[in-house]
Amino acid sequence: MASNILVYVEQRGGNIYPATFQLMHVAAELASKTGGQVEACVIGSGIAGLADKIAACGAKKVYLADDAEFESYRVMPYASALSAAIDAASPKTVLMPTTALGRDLASRVGARKRAALVIDCTEVDADGEDLIATTPMYCGKVSSKFRLTGDRLQMVTIRSNVYPAAEPADGATAETVSVAAALRAEDTRLSLKEIVSTTSGVKDVTEADIVVSGGRALKSEENFKIICDLAEVLDGAVGASRAACDAGYQPHTRQVGLTGKVVTPAMYIACGIDGAIQHLAGMRGSKVIVAVNTKAEAPIFKLANYGCVIDLFVLVPLLTQEFKKLLER
């Protein structure tokens, strides 16, 4: 019976997506229960050098699909490469990050392999041959546990920042296995023309440890400067409610919520955000939530760990100053 855990290592331009190291942590936990080992798969071009970094975090074997064809992400070639790695490794479980790429690839490869699949898990655990995967549903109003049976390949994508990262150990090495790229003509119907950064130097809300968000109460793009200033001192990202994005105060790439992005930072500071259920769907998984709102009954306080009933235009600049004092020391 298969018992190994295969981690998909997402990389762009040779940079490993940070949540990968969290997947390595989960993989080690699962492998200790299944009696298997942690293995990894990297797809890209000129990525052989990444194997050591992955080995340091616990992978005993690294499957490398290293080919000019994989220079940039295209779903069909990557799906073929990941399928080939799965064939070579015959793992019990494949772990992937909940990212645009992870959702895409897991769904396609899951379909191809007739796998048991759950997307965006906040918890996974082995139960005998089965895998129990917990995932939020219905805008986060429900948490569901799915049983992925052991009679087939189990695939899950895991939400960022819910698990700690595996600690790298010096000197660990892994066996590397190269995976051939057997592409069909059909796999190249799609090609990448360009990647345009939408964060222009600032962090994306999905990647930052701290997110400072503003709502309709900000009233204008200019006023958002106080939110941006606070985010900057905290080395965080700027988020916004849909009302703020629809009014043009912030780009839609910063919208948090059901129709925006789902974020799970260590701290989420909601300023002048009411806490509509669709907003909560995007940030309720944050570890610590701070709410700043003039209205004590605002639903955001039901979710918050710390609440301040006050005009944000008064408090936010003061907070920025206080954090500056603290962090510059």
Partner: protein
């Protein structure tokens, strides 16, 4: 050009969700259900393509769901789709999205129409997974582009350029048709169906498919079973911070450092 949009009936995002006593699912009695807002983006896109281009002949919607799902189809038909395909059989009701995609793929393979474009929402707001679109593309062996925020289809209808949202960036891809797209918020703003159009929608054709018409679906993807459903873990009581603004700021920063340890 023939376009198929995949839609689903889901609980309204504003509706309170109650888990059944035995944790086996949610209470659906009296629950307000709507066409998934992301799927409405797909329907709207199809209609805008018809309005912009001269070559869109057929806009069909396909919906997997029970009797209630006819409401979602009516919304789509009232928005401007020409006809609907309703896959309705208790055997197909499942929370397994790969199974759903497989079932829809079988229905599409049996359909006499040749589609050039299939459009889905980025994900559905009930399961919040987004696996149906990519898995459907896989079962059809079509390329797909997920989370599309921009779209330019060539005049000859043979290829397109799309923008799609990824973490911190947007990809611009080129692809041939046929293809499947999943739509992100921001590409189009769905129109509200007018009352006369809602009335007219009642007369548009709806083809119903059951397991009798889709015998191939038996040999499907299983292996994912719901064990239990619970409300999300409760959050700790909110600590309200009082005092003058300066004190408040100082106290909050102190708590975040010493108690919450996040800075």
């Amino acid at each position: 050009m023939n376009i198929l949009t995949v839609i689903k009936q889901v609980p309204d995002s504003n509706a309170a969700i109650k888990v059944k006593g035995d944790a086996s699912g949610i209470e659906t009695a009296g629950l307000k259900q709507v066409c998934d807002p992301f799927d409405e983006f797909g329907v709207e896109l199809a209609i805008q393509l018809r309005e912009k281009r001269g070559d869109v002949e057929d806009i069909a919607v396909i919906c997997l769901g029970g009797d209630k799902a006819s409401e979602a189809m009516r919304t789509a038909l009232a928005m401007g789709a020409d006809r609907a395909i309703h896959i309705n059989d208790p055997k197909f009701e499942s929370m397994n999205e790969l199974f759903a995609a497989y079932t829809i793929a079988e229905a599409i393979k049996k359909d006499e129409q040749n589609y050039d474009l299939i459009v889905c929402g980025k994900y559905n707001i009930d399961l919040d997974s987004g696996a149906v679109g990519p898995a459907l593309a896989e079962f059809l062996d079509w390329p797909h582009v997920g989370a599309v925020t921009g779209l330019e289809i060539a005049d000859d209808g043979k290829s397109f350029t799309a923008r799609r949202r990824i973490e911190g960036a947007e990809e611009i891809v080129e692809c041939t048709l046929p293809a499947l797209l999943t739509i992100e918020k921001g590409l189009v703003e769905p129109r509200y169906p007018s009352l006369p159009n809602l009335m007219k929608a009642k007369k548009k054709p709806v083809q119903v498919l059951t397991s009798a018409e889709l015998p191939g679906v038996e040999a499907s993807t299983a292996g994912t079973h719901l064990d239990s459903m619970t409300p999300p873990p409760p959050r700790p009581e909110c600590k309200m911070i009082e005092g003058e603004p300066e004190e408040m700021a100082r106290e909050l920063v102190r708590l975040l450092r010493e108690e919450a340890k996040v800075v």
